[in-house]
Amino acid sequence: MKSHGFIDQRRTSFDRLLALRLVVCAWFLAGANDLAYAQSVFSLYQESALKTQILLPFQLQDTSKESLPIERVELTTPSQVCSIIIDPNITTNFLLRCSSADSPTVLLTFFDKGIPKKIEYGPIPITDSVLPLLMPSQSTPTAPSNDEGRNLFEAQCQRCHQSPTDKANRSANTIQTALNNISTMKGIKLSAEEVTAISEYLKDLN
């Protein structure tokens, strides 16, 4: 009887230990998989400034508005137009850039008192600029070129064609043919001199 009691006591201890382990496991697993709600993501730019072609900064904050280091950041759905990364110099912030309008949602992983947690943020409404934009040059400025053609390209063509280098070496005839035949270009009214100026500008890009 004594020995049976000893075995029962050991079994009871074992059961308690197992139960404790299971509780700890469940706690860890719950902490890892639950989306966090005590923390929030804060756009450092106001919503109206969330535009394409610029690097947009965001910060992870806790309930007392203190920033929290981010362990990992990813887009919830793969995007062809948006990229995301944690600021390597300020790990409480992440940066998002979209080449065209999109509404991405991001998933952040961080540690809260040693427990990994995730937070979802979005959709983030990123819109195109209402104005046609000048495209930044990758090289240093060169000698003055065809400014008239450049201005015309920026005002009339860039909204659709983006970079002028994509249309380098287009002759005046080619441009005029496109203006006459492509439905979306028919509304653009350019004189023969202006078409020639654009063509000269596109030649200058070589």
Binding site: Q53, S83, E154
Partner: protein
């Protein structure tokens, strides 16, 4: 039964241990070529922890036969998320390096992150370079950034 309990306890312990398998993984390194490439493709331009995030875009507001009205758009915000006024100085140059805008300095009010400066340029001149100096009002050092078009 005992065996089942042991298996359960073991699998649970393994699951708990797996939770931390990446704990020792280092924070993104600046020297990692993949990270450097990604930063470059994103247009990341900060060598150190910047006090202010900033960017510039130039749009064409209106174009006539005589002139072009540009809108120089400045995006900026303190990187710490605190509310503070940002001061900026703008220099807009044409291809011959002549300043094109007359009143390029200003501020971005606390809590805002956008300012547009209109710059009307007589043709055939056009914007070639935009230089921005920006800082938090409480800081003494300016951050300089130049964008070429």
């Amino acid at each position: 039964m005992r065996l089942l309990k042991i298996v359960l306890a073991l699998s649970c312990s393994i699951a708990a241990a797996l939770m931390f398998q990446n704990c020792s993984k280092s924070v993104r390194s600046f020297t990692d070529p993949k990270v450097t490439e990604q930063l470059s493709s994103l247009g990341y331009r900060y060598e150190n922890a910047t006090p202010v995030y900033y960017d510039i875009q130039v749009g064409i507001a209106e174009s006539t036969s005589q002139s072009t009205a540009y809108s120089v758009m400045i995006y900026a915000a303190p990187s710490d998320g605190k509310l503070e006024i940002l001061d900026f100085q703008l220099e807009v140059l044409g291809r011959d390096a002549v300043p094109l805008c007359t009143e390029p300095n200003g501020e971005i009010p606390s809590g805002e992150s956008f300012k547009a400066v209109t710059c009307v340029v007589a043709k055939p001149q056009s914007i070639a370079t935009v230089s921005l100096k920006i800082k938090k009002r409480s800081d003494s050092d300016w951050i300089s950034y130049t964008k070429t078009y």
